[in-house]
């Protein structure tokens, strides 16, 4: 009798203690101090000190591995080979970031994500950085809580039709049905573009599975298949009836800058990722690639020496990004410069550099000075 009553009392006290502990626990989950004000307006976050913002980049360094959100079945950007490794343009940029932050291009934990789960994975902390041919839009910067970084590929949305159809441009496609991939900017863009041209789209069907889109397209359920031109090129190269059965129309009807993304508020990680990408572009500008980087270590050019983190008698240049001084050297020697990454993965699909060349050659790639 006494033990039963005692048990009840102990249980009651334990429960009360838990309640009190829970109610008084007010910390924010991100581990920052209470610098954020109580309003939901992100513009109020002006009082951020360097010490407290070290969290996300430090967390990656402490973990020793970069969690990179990607995909597993887009030819050219990220596919799995027979050994289960991720091969592709986006996969290599995951390695670029890992080489910059951690010094090891293979210290990457690839997390394959469905299109609909891209941003929730970022928001929940399942991944550190999203490198998954994702378009940088205002809405995603805002409502999705993502911070987009230097675009790795300036793309556009296009339309692919069967080679034997009579469509020569998107303007001929009044009243047609279009298939797109679900969860992308493509869905909204098709209706917008058709409205802009003064024609109407009959149906926009969106499927999550590329195999299903292909099947619907082959059977004639839809007249056109719309997606980023880079994706269309990759899919056309894998088409079961051969790439010549399809034709990509010349119109490009939206801007699709594909850029990596990190979560809002992780400024240090954002800057680290940015400069990792800039390193690949700057290397191409200097003419440094993975084969000749060793020779460039002996260069007399002070800019190159700073860039590669060569020791000078006064010390090594460290801009305070939280990256190792030789991060550019690691990136180029372990992965390569932008041109090498492009040539290896996207050129075989038939994609030209187009506007994805250096600013000095009339393209969009411009790395800020590393000094």
């Amino acid at each position: 009798m006494a033990s039963r009553a005692t048990f009840r009392w102990l249980a009651g006290i334990l429960a009360l203690t838990l309640v009190l502990a829970a109610c008084s626990d007010d910390d924010d989950a991100s581990g920052e101090g209470s610098d954020t004000t109580d309003s939901t307006d992100p513009d109020d976050d002006t009082e951020i000190t360097l010490v407290q913002q070290g969290s996300a980049l430090e967390a990656v360094k402490d973990a020793g591995v970069l969690k990179c959100g990607t995909r597993d079945a887009l030819p050219g950007f990220a596919v799995l080979n027979e050994d289960g490794d991720h091969i592709g343009f986006d996969a290599d940029f995951c390695r670029v970031i890992a080489a910059a932050i951690l010094g090891d291009a293979e210290a990457v934990d690839f997390v394959d994500l469905e299109t609909e789960a891209r941003f929730t994975a970022l928001q929940s902390g399942e991944i550190d950085v999203l490198v998954r041919n994702t378009t940088w839009t205002a809405g995603r910067d805002g409502d999705e809580g993502a911070t987009f970084l230097q675009p790795t590929f300036y793309d556009g949305q296009g339309m692919m039709v069967a080679d034997d159809s009579e469509f020569e441009s998107v303007e001929d496609m009044d009243g047609t049905s279009i298939c797109v991939a679900s969860g992308t900017t493509t869905e909204g863009n098709v209706a917008t573009e058709f409205a802009r041209l003064g024609i109407t789209v009959n149906e926009v069907l969106s499927f999550a599975d590329v195999a299903l889109i292909q099947e619907a397209f082959i059977q004639g359920r839809c007249d056109g298949w719309s997606s980023d031109v880079s994706q269309l090129t990759g899919l056309r190269s894998e088409f079961p009836d051969g790439p010549d059965a399809l034709r990509i129309l010349p119109d490009v009807f939206s801007k699709e800058p594909l850029a990596p993304a990190v979560l809002d508020g992780n400024t240090d990680l954002a800057q680290a990722v940015n400069w990792a990408i800039f390193a690949t572009v700057q290397a191409e500008e200097f003419g440094i690639d993975s084969t000749n980087v060793e020779e460039f270590l002996e260069s007399e050019d002070p800019n190159v020496r700073k860039f590669l983190g060569v020791d000078e008698e006064g010390g090594t240049f460290d801009p305070g990004l939280g990256l190792p001084a030789d991060f550019a050297l690691q990136v180029i020697s372990q992965v390569g410069n932008y041109a090498e990454i492009f040539e290896e993965h996207l050129a075989p699909l038939g994609l030209d550099r187009g506007i994805n060349t250096l600013w000095s050659e009339g393209g969009m790639l411009y790395a800020p000075p590393y000094r």
Partner: protein, 389 residues
Amino acid sequence: MTAPATTARPPIWRDVRYLRVLFQAVVVAVVTGIGLWLWNNVQTNARTTGIPLTLGYLDQPSDITVPGNDLRPTQSVRDAIGVGLGNTVRVALAGIVLATVLGVLLGIARLSTNWLLSRLAQAYVEVLRNVPLLALVIFSYIAVFLRLPRLENATTVGSVFIASIRGVAIPWYRIEGSSLAVAAVIVLALAAGWLAARWRRRVNEATGQPAYRWTVGVATFAVVVVVAQIALGSPVSLSGPAVDGRRISGGITMLPEFAALLAALVTYTASHIAEIVRGSIQAVPKGQVEAASALALSPSQRMRLVVLPQAMRIAVPAIGNQYLNLTKNSSLAVAISYFELTKVTSVSIGNRAPAVPSFAVLLLLYLMLSLALSAVVNIANRRLELVER
């Protein structure tokens, strides 16, 4: 020796009634505390990452076009969700009706004395009960409805029937002018028909003349409708489907996605309902069957008048559960791009509506649908219950 009886109250820390209340209060406090802590967590995370948890996104333009519907991309997300909800209800209602019919027939066939019929029914049930529904939906779409001919080679029967990969079209009514007026006329006609039927029943009770309730009721309905049609200048007309370039105009088109989803849902749910019906028929006491035979009822009369009514009483709660499952399983339309509620929500999230509030709204809407459906099933259940004195 017995202990002296005492009527004094035990001390409060040993008083069972007090302790019971205290413990329940503590449990409530703990659960509320955990709930508040989780909510606080969500709010803090949302604030830190700058993601709003409001419902303001409902008034933004949706950028969604729904096949088979006039929804404009500039209309709000709220309108798009409304269209999706309508599509879910359409699939659910059609699915429930068809699955019940097919399921009951299959359940009875399973118990048939005809060996081939019962084995076929058994094979059907065993196969379809054990197949994942998502696979069935995708299979139904790819293997069946995507194999329909292209529009230029469509199977047509004049202006009455077109079957193609763009949809199956039949003639349908078209209302010019106010559809509210037409709806009002229909309601009026139904009321008139019902009143006429009631009048005939009273005549029958008073004088013994044959009631002809159905005949008179339907005739009154038809008369009112025809008179209104002429009086209002024929607002309702029949439009037949026709191939118009790359699409079908006129009539009503059943999209291949709708058909595939419906076919998969119906065949799957019917297999479950068949098992329920079989079980409940077998649960009817054998004495009932023997008594019915003794009354010289034929086997079909026996089934229809004695066994089925009693079996249905047992089956209704379980079948109601299958209806709920069917309604929620319609969300698999996401896989084949049929724009019901889940698909519309998914697309709006892709068009940068915030994920957490969108799914909260989705869950609430499914909850409302399910509660409404189970309320209807409960009404049916209560009416069938054995009333005990």
